[in-house]
């Protein structure tokens, strides 16, 4: 159970008054959100509600027009994906995550390759590290020399997650991590999310599946037309309450966080 917001000290991430427009359209219009260590916050809303844009501003993939980001209480300067990584913010994208023609190790270390003393890429070391981390995340995984295009959806997702785990992410953004997965694989990812949470990571989870949100999230923030409808404690509201927020933009009477 998450503690009450007032007792929890400094949030891991706080986004204040975030804004982003494309042409005349306010994709994200003054949204304020926070995330505490060991917490999963669902970010919900229809397509086009602005949740992906909001998360992309946090991960540095999109520049923001306005607003501030605080990490551990201090203002963070995030202008590109590298900046975000320096704040230990890692993102697991639904489809965009992996270079299909490269193997697991090359993907895990993409942009942060281990090199030898001569400056050349150290494939053996990277493979060894990948084997080590995969033994923990997905012990059945053995296909270290196959381009990830040849892997199953769950295997691909475990490669993407291994990236965040290996580089010691503190803040994880997951964009529909189970959308392309089967039942068993979804269960595996759910188990991973619980483990990461137990290690004190904060996770933003973009998801459309209300059951999943109920099962995995502590709080849920709902967006509609670029604005934040409200944030609720998942245990204190019903699925219908959440659906009402998503579809009608109606705040529930209780459970607001």
């Amino acid at each position: 159970m998450p503690l009450d917001a007032t007792d929890r000290g400094t949030p891991l991430v706080e986004m204040r008054d975030m804004r982003k427009s494309f042409g005349g359209i306010h994709a994200v219009d003054g949204v304020t959100l926070n995330l505490y260590p060991g917490e999963v916050v669902g970010v919900l809303g229809h397509n086009g509600a602005g949740k992906s844009v909001l998360m992309k501003m946090l991960s540095g993939a999109l520049p923001r027009d306005g607003g501030q980001i605080f990490v551990n209480g201090e203002e963070a300067h995030i202008h590109n994906p590298r900046d975000a990584r320096n704040y230990r913010i890692e993102t697991i994208y639904q489809y965009l995550a992996l270079a299909d023609n490269l193997d697991a190790a090359s993907n895990l270390f993409l942009g942060r390759e281990l090199v030898t003393s001569t400056g050349l890429v150290d494939d053996a070391k990277m493979e060894a590290e990948t084997r080590r981390i995969m033994a923990r995340l997905n012990p059945n995984f053995q296909r270290f020399h196959t381009p990830v295009a040849g892997l199953s959806g769950g295997q691909r997702q475990s490669v993407a997650i291994s990236r965040a785990v290996y580089f010691n992410a503190k803040i994880l953004i997951m964009d529909e991590p189970t959308a392309a997965l089967g039942v068993e694989e979804t269960a595996m990812v759910a188990k991973l999310i619980d483990e990461l949470k137990a290690q004190g990571l904060g996770i933003f989870l973009i998801d459309h599946d209300i059951h999943q949100v109920k099962a995995l999230c502590d709080r849920a923030s709902v967006m509609k037309n670029g604005r934040l409808v409200g944030t609720v404690k998942v245990d204190e509201v019903s699925e219908d309450d959440i659906l009402g927020m998503i579809i009608l933009g109606k705040k529930p009477e209780k459970g607001l966080a």
Binding site: R82, D100, N101, L110, V115, V121, F141, S152
Partner: protein, 432 residues
């Protein structure tokens, strides 16, 4: 999770397993097979004139120029771009170098003809021009987001005619003696140096194989059985030494040898013979091949080139500057065009207005026959070089049996399309 695809039964399991154990790239094997078939067919057809040291020597030096550019084209195509301007760029670099050594240095700067400075300065000028134009193309493509097809199509018109402008359409030559040595037959290592080079290559190959195995063992990775290592090492050693032996077996004609001795003020001993050995231009190609392979496989730049081809969005989200990467890739191609321009004009001993014409198509064809996928993300340096060699052997084989040039081109065109189709079938089968 079940790895159901792992245990998928393949129809040709046993044969695959032997190749798998040896970790031999079947595509490489296929290309070598195609080359061998071409050689044997033409050798029979020409009554044994194709597989002679003389012809193989010529085949090698004819392949160099296109092969050098093809290695760069691999990077371009892997990043999902195309470069239609390499032949024109070659012509511009060639024109700059020819004008530098025949006009700028001797006439404007008063450097004596035959000065040892002429060739290096001219080559440097060519490289700077090539890199600058290539980087400019890359900037237009990466930063201004004009499609590579358009930028380099425009470049084809522009640079072909900038070359014309520089020489006013004239043939510029003869070129500097040291410069010409990079063209092929006029600059070779000779027999002893070629053998030494061969032995060094053998030593390096063995060292690399041993090191790779040690490295795997150190990390507890599975390794090939020792017999497989020995077979592969043995094939490599035989190939290297066989190559040197062939180039050494092509003997310098007696008249030419006599002239060399006369130039030194000596008389040639009776019965003296000497082989050409490895040409400097081939040495250059080998160096390019090694460096480009290292770049492709063992550097961050290479890793990002392939990652971009596989998934540009993911690569960008991984914090990699794809625009700058595009500039680098095209700058590399520009540099390689300059190197090819050295080889091509040195081989002719002059710069001609039509130098490199249609080379863009040969270079793209070489890369594609060599297994580079136009959809991006897949390609190898050795494949492109083998592709260039296959095309050149087809063309010179047909020329030897008296097929007229237009028919040769028809055959090459058909082979290109067929090669890509075979590659598609291959990929479907292996699921790569």
């Amino acid at each position: 999770m079940a790895d159901s695809t792992e245990s998928r039964d393949l129809p040709t399991k046993t044969r695959r397993n032997i190749l798998d154990t040896m970790e031999i790239d079947t595509r490489l094997l296929g290309m070598i097979g195609a080359f061998v078939v071409i050689c044997i067919v033409f050798d029979i057809w020409t009554g044994g004139r194709f597989l002679t040291p003389r012809n193989l020597f010529n085949l090698t030096i004819q392949t160099v120029s296109v092969a050098i550019m093809a290695t760069g084209m691999v990077f371009v195509i892997v990043t999902r771009h195309i470069d239609l301007s390499v032949g024109a760029l070659l012509a511009t670099c060639s024109a700059f170098m020819a004008m530098t050594q025949t006009v700028a240095l001797p006439q404007w700067l008063g450097l004596e003809l035959g000065s040892p400075l002429i060739a290096p300065i001219a080559i440097l000028v060519g490289m700077v021009v090539g890199i600058a134009i290539g980087a400019f193309h890359g900037w237009l493509i990466g930063y201004l987001t004009i499609p590579a097809f358009i930028v380099t199509l425009g470049g084809l018109f522009v640079w072909r005619n900038v070359a014309w402008h520089l020489s006013r359409g004239q043939t510029i030559g003869p070129l500097d003696g040291n410069f010409v040595a990079l063209g092929g037959i006029d600059g070779t290592l000779g027999e002893s140096a070629s053998w030494i080079l061969g032995l060094i290559a053998v030593a390096v190959t063995i060292l690399l194989l041993v090191n790779a195995r040690r490295n795997k063992l150190r990390h507890d990775f599975p390794v090939k059985p020792i017999w497989a290592e020995l077979v592969i090492g043995g094939i490599a050693v035989v190939a290297i030494l066989g190559f040197v032996w062939i180039l050494n077996s092509y003997e310098i004609p007696t008249r030419r040898l006599q002239r060399i001795f006369e130039a030194r003020g000596e008389t040639m001993p009776e019965g003296y013979t000497a082989g050409y050995g490895v040409p400097y231009s081939v040495l250059l190609l080998i160096a390019v091949a090694v460096i480009m392979t290292v770049v492709a496989q063992r550097t961050r730049l290479g890793r990002y080139i392939f990652a971009t081809g596989g998934n540009p969005e993911a690569t960008e989200l991984a914090g990699i500057n794809i625009r700058l990467l595009t500039v680098k890739v095209f700058a590399i191609v520009g540099f390689l065009c300059a190197l090819s321009a050295v080889v091509a004009s040195a081989r002719l001993n002059f710069h001609s207005n039509d130098i490199g014409t249609l080379d863009e198509l040969r270079v793209i064809a070489a890369a594609v026959i060599g297994g580079t996928a136009l959809s991006g993300g897949i390609g190898t340096i050795y494949g492109a070089i083998l592709g260039a060699l296959i095309m050149q052997s087809l063309q010179s084989g047909m020329a030897m049996v008296g097929v007229e040039a237009p028919y040769q081109n028809i055959v090459v065109g058909i082979v290109l399309v067929l090669a890509v189709y075979v590659d598609i079938l291959y990929r479907k089968r292996t699921g790569d």
